[in-house]
């Protein structure tokens, strides 16, 4: 019996080996079928477009996104605004401004559709489909009320078809639609006209069946939905097979009726124009485009040149990377960037190629403006803080000054991230203000390892002193030798009073004042003079200085308001603050940065205690409870925002300081509010750009966010299997779902 048991064991082992070797796939590409295999890091939640249009994860947008088309689109490399379903961009001739007409109190826009565009089931894409998608569907859903329907559908619908902007959409003829808007907003261009188009024939009965019942609509199995994009779900084309095996893979098959197939695109030719052309069926299009900075000229032919795009689902990055290196997949869809170790893995396999691209996002730190000394507001939970004096602003500036972004990103992060000073990412080159910088950014340990820390500390201390901060034991920084002694016990200043100052008039200083600050309207340049000392206004129109002893009056060169500060008593000592940042496991980079910032701040006597915290807890504390002192998080802004940075309003406008809103720090600056509103209402892009540039300057010095850094997107693909027409692109190939419509298999 005993021997038999070993025999059985041997048989089992033999079975396993046989199993392994018979099912072992030889290293090589499948013959016959042209399959483009990609790796994904998470499963889909649904294949029903209706759910996705409400809240899409990045993975769903990769798989389901390619099925839909819209009126307009942005070119892949230079992000030009070009027509897709529409025949041409309805710009006012000679400008980059939409040709909006006023009609009965509404702004209208007429869009002509291309002819010959077909759904994957062979029927034509007509104005009916457009009107249905943009207006009828929500109206049906809302029981006849468009606004109600959009609200009920929620998510992406509300974003692109905002009823406060969009009034109605009408069909003029089979290939002509008219949009009516209630007023101008930048959202017309980048939201309403980007709306996905669904087939009316397919969806209308389904919408009628589920009026007002979103769960029913979203619960439908809609795998046979016809597509007008390059890809369709296998089922909609009656191709055998399963489009989505939960937890394992998802598949798209090429749409045989794809309109753009075979079209050659030149994003910017020698004549400075965007062109499309194709011989059969004939198609050509030309459009003037601006010459803004961008990568090399991109010329390519639109595919798809593959029969299928398959998305293999992995549970973690490591196995996905290994699969790429082993050649089980051709491209890894990894929007999170690649750490050096992953790159090191790629380097072990010469057939894997990588490309680094800028990503559109930011990592930042912010403070609770409702608490002293970050702002000077009361400590109530929901109270909005109004920036009545400049203590908070100076305090933030001093912390900003202490942070050495260049050093951390270059050395510790090894360039997987780059320093960020503005609230707009440099990836968004048209809107990015490259002159924006942080206070004392010129000192960095990267180039001046001995002196920079002392210089930064010295500057930060001076900023704090200029609004009357004192210490139990002040920090000492010897700029000459670089010696630094940490301070302890920061004490809040006490506001003695304020006074309105006429331009150039002397304002008397109350007794006991040790520092004086001033504020002038935004955009005004002014100087504050106190005896021999002077201070220039910054971009936010604020200035402050430590008052030389014996000065009786100060002068402000423009009309504004002057504040006086005296030293605080022991009771005003700043309590120890908690600084919550994502824990090392969630994001080691931010955790490391957090610990470093904590250390730098402590050196300046700022009593901050770092608390690495789980991501979800941070989110709850910040956005849902608003119970925090400092925090650090990041925003990934996606490519859709590569148009105007409309998100700025969400982050910094007073309107969004409520619980659950994005302006969780409670930043409320009426002047910034005004700028944000003006920006969103500006039709002229160049004027809007000017406003955004100014906003970036103001926000950089007023620092509602202390922006830290942004990461690099790394694409990795099997060079022996696939060729892409271009790889240099903001947000990388990942940003266009792996470019399955452009890729060619070797």
């Amino acid at each position: 019996m005993f021997k038999v048991r070993w025999l059985a064991f041997g048989l089992l082992v033999a079975f396993v080996v046989a199993l392994a070797s018979t099912t072992a796939s030889e290293v090589g590409q499948a013959q016959g079928e042209r399959i483009y295999r990609m790796g994904m890091l998470s499963d889909l939640r649904t294949t029903n477009t209706m759910r996705v249009t409400r809240t899409a994860t990045v993975w769903e947008s990769y798989v389901l996104g390619p099925r839909h088309c819209s009126l307009f689109t942005q070119t892949p490399t230079r992000f030009y605004y070009v027509p897709s379903l529409a025949a041409a961009v309805p710009f006012r001739p000679g400008t980059a401004e939409l040709d909006l007409k006023s009609e009965a109190g509404l702004l209208t826009l007429t869009v002509d559709l291309k002819r010959g565009v077909k759904w994957s089931d062979g029927s034509d894409v007509t104005a009916d489909d457009v009107v249905f998608s943009a207006f009828e569907a929500p109206t049906i859903f809302g029981g006849g009320d468009f606004a109600k329907g959009v609200t009920a559908l929620g998510g992406g619908w509300t974003f692109s078809l905002d009823p406060s902007v969009l009034a109605k959409v009408e069909k003029l003829d089979s290939h002509k639609v008219k949009y009516s808007f209630k007023g101008f907003s930048l959202r017309i261009q980048f939201a309403a006209l980007f709306h996905a188009i669904f087939q009316k024939k397919y969806w209308e009965p389904r919408f009628r069946d589920s009026v007002g019942n979103r769960e029913k609509l979203e619960g439908l199995t809609a795998d046979d939905e016809p597509a007008c994009g390059w890809a369709a779900f296998p089922e909609s084309l009656r191709v055998a097979g399963k489009g989505w095996e939960r937890g394992a893979f998802a598949t798209n098959v090429a749409n045989p009726n794809y309109f753009w197939k075979g079209i050659r695109v030149d994003e910017r030719n020698a004549a400075g124009k965007y062109t499309e052309s194709r011989a059969t069926p004939p198609h050509s299009y030309e459009q003037d485009v601006p010459a803004a900075a961008g990568p090399e000229l991109a010329r390519y032919e639109i595919g798809p040149f593959v029969d299928r795009a398959a998305y293999r689902i992995f549970g973690d990055t490591a196995s996905a990377v290994a699969a790429l290196v082993r050649g089980d997949i051709e491209l890894l869809l990894n929007p999170l960037g690649a750490d050096p170790g992953i790159r090191a893995q790629y380097r072990t396999e010469p057939r894997v190629r990588t490309a680094d691209n800028k990503s559109h996002g930011m990592f930042y730190m912010a403070m609770n403006f409702r608490r002293k000394p970050f702002g000077s507001g009361p400590l109530q939970r929901d109270a909005r803080f109004r920036d009545d004096d400049i203590i908070g602003s100076r305090f933030r500036s001093s912390v900003n000054c202490l942070v050495d972004r260049q050093f951390v990103t270059e050395t510790l992060f090894q360039r997987v991230a780059f320093p960020l000073f503005s609230v707009v990412s440099p990836a968004n080159s048209f809107w990015f203000n490259d002159k924006v910088t942080a206070p004392c950014a010129e000192f960095t340990e990267l180039t001046d390892p001995r002196g920079a820390r002392a210089k930064k500390l010295d500057a930060a201390v001076k900023i704090l002193q200029s609004v009357g901060f004192t210490w139990v034991r002040p920090p000492r920084a010897d700029v000459a030798t670089g010696a630094v002694t940490a301070g302890e016990g920061l004490i809040n200043p006490v506001i003695l009073g304020s006074a309105d100052a006429a331009a150039g008039a002397a304002v008397a200083v109350p007794a006991g004042t040790i520092a004086v600050g001033a504020k002038v309207p935004l955009g005004t340049r002014a100087t504050l003079t106190a005896g021999a000392a002077t201070a220039e206004s910054d971009g936010a129109g604020k200035m402050s200085l430590a008052l030389p002893t014996g000065t009786a009056s100060v002068t402000l060169s423009a009309a504004g308001k002057v504040y006086f500060y005296r030293a605080g008593a022991a009771a005003d000592r700043v309590p120890t603050f908690n600084f919550i940042y994502p824990n090392s496991a969630y994001d080691p980079r931010r955790a490391l940065f957090g610990v470093q910032v904590e250390k730098w701040a402590n050196q300046a006597g700022i009593p901050v205690r770092g608390v690495p915290t789980g991501f979800n807890v941070i989110v709850t504390k910040i956005f849902d409870e608003q119970d925090f002192d400092w925090w650090s998080l990041g925003w990934s802004l996606g490519t859709a925002a590569l148009g105007a940075p409309t998100y700025l309003k969400d982050f910094y406008h007073t309107e969004f300081t409520n619980v659950g809103d994005d302006n969780a720090q409670g930043y409320s600056n009426p002047e910034v509010d005004k700028l944000l509103d003006a920006f969103l209402a500006e039709r002229d892009l160049s004027k809007a750009r000017a406003i955004v540039l100014q906003l970036q300057e103001v926000l950089a010095v007023d620092a509602p966010y202390l922006t830290w850094f942004d990461t690099v997107i790394v694409d990795a693909w099997r060079d022996d299997r696939v060729v892409f027409p271009f790889t240099e692109r903001t947000n990388g190939l990942v940003g266009m779902a792996g470019a399955p419509a452009l890729v060619r298999l070797r």
């Binding site: 499948a30 016959g32 929620g154 097979g241 973690d316 709850t620 659950g660």
Partner: protein
């Protein structure tokens, strides 16, 4: 027997009730109440949030919430997954078969291996084999599981491929995408195959067990019995194989890519899943056999001091008979009881294994749902895991009753 089982059943129902209550109150006592997280989703508008509060019954007094919670558990309304937007129950039904197949296989192997080795090392106490097995067992038992899993992947999936040029083992997932792309098994997808496999496994196990018992009961000559056993097992395995290749719906075939001959049948899909199971099963087996082995050793050491073992020896029975039929048979009893404990351990190990092998079962679901803050799902997964462990508890009880006549005939 019936009374015993009834008693155990009542006890288990009480335990289940207490378990649910405990989970409920732990969640209530948490500083960041899970229902708060549920309704504090930043994507929700204020009105929607209030609606949700009403829908969830969170405006109701706690005792009412508690009873609703219990009722919902019983009727299978475990809530909607936040991240998936589907009923939690659906997701569990979808993920469970995958975990079940992996775990039942691994646990059976681990248990048998642990039993066998524990028996041997106790019998040969003080010899080299005891020290070696103890050291190996403890090493695997306490080894940092992720490290173990990664090392196995490295050895079998990477190094072996480098040496042989063949991809002998897959590194992740539970099926080969290329093979399955043209297969359309309906809405449940691969779970159909998992179902067939589980049914086959269950039927085989039941048959083997029953047949073994019958043979031992009615055939007394060792040689004849052994032949009958071997023949019966071979026959049933052949029968199972025949069912899979020749009898619908098990033997159904699907179109496939040319690479696979244009046709792929269910049995090939099952083999594909088995192929993907090898490494994860090995990992789970390695981490959990140690516990059984050490326990079996202790139990066996206690048993061989019993008088009936000496009596069995005195009867002139061969050493093997004494060891296997008397000592091991009795030593097995406490080990079966501890089976439940090792199960909890296996579930823990399973979370790690499933994550590292991208095996989308319950463990990975639990981890992902926590990372995505999908608390209805996370909690349901935890509760379900508990229920699963309870069921295993019951199975262990039945097995125990079968093994111990003192309980069977109580």
């Amino acid at each position: 027997m019936r009374r015993y089982l009834f008693k155990r059943l009542v006890q288990i129902v009480v335990t289940l009730y207490l378990y649910l209550t405990l989970v409920f109150f732990i969640l209530q006592a948490m500083p960041g109440d899970y229902s708060q997280i549920y309704i504090d989703n930043p994507q929700l508008t204020r009105e929607a949030r209030e609606q949700l509060i009403r829908d969830l019954g969170l405006d109701k007094p706690i005792e009412e919430q508690y009873f609703t919670y219990l009722r919902n558990f019983v009727i299978g309304q475990w809530g909607m997954s936040f991240a998936h937007g589907r009923p939690v129950w659906d997701i569990i039904v979808e993920r469970f078969p995958r975990t079940a197949l992996l775990f039942i296989t691994a646990t059976l192997i681990a248990f048998y291996l642990g039993f066998l080795l524990g028996k041997l090392i106790a019998w040969r106490r003080g010899r080299m084999i005891e020290y070696t097995s103890t050291v190996v067992g403890i090493t695997f038992y306490t080894a940092f599981t992720p490290m173990l899993a990664l090392l196995l992947v490295w050895i079998f999936a990477i190094q072996l491929t480098d040496w042989t040029g063949l991809k002998l083992f897959p590194i992740a997932n539970f099926l080969d995408m290329d093979k399955w792309q043209l297969v359309n098994l309906g809405p449940h997808g691969s779970n159909v195959i998992f179902g067939y496999m589980l049914a086959t496994l269950g039927a085989l196990a039941a048959f083997i067990f029953a047949y073994w018992w019958l043979c031992h009961r009615f055939i007394h000559r060792p040689g004849v019995r052994f032949g009958a056993l071997l023949g019966g097992y071979a026959a049933v395995f052949l029968l199972a194989g025949y069912l899979w290749v020749a009898v619908e719906p098990l033997a159904q075939c699907w179109p496939a890519f040319q690479k696979y001959g244009g046709r792929i049948c269910n049995w090939q899909l099952a083999v594909d899943i088995l192929h993907h199971m090898i490494l994860p099963v090995t990992v789970v087996t390695l981490i959990s056999f140690g516990g059984t082995m050490l326990l079996m050793r202790n139990s066996m050491l206690e048993t061989i001091r019993e008088d009936y073992i000496m009596a069995a020896k005195a009867k002139g029975l061969s050493e093997k008979t004494v060891r296997d039929d008397h000592a091991a048979r009795n030593a097995l009893l406490p080990v079966v009881t501890s089976f439940v404990l090792s199960l909890a351990l296996a579930i823990d190990g399973g979370i790690i294994t499933e994550t590292l092998f991208s095996w989308p079962g319950m463990g990975l679901t639990l981890l992902n749902s926590v990372q995505e803050q999908d608390f209805p799902l996370a909690i349901a997964a935890l509760v379900f895991t508990g229920v699963f462990a309870l069921i295993a508890h019951l199975v262990a009880d039945i097995l125990y009753a079968y093994l111990d006549p003192r309980i069977r005939y109580e």
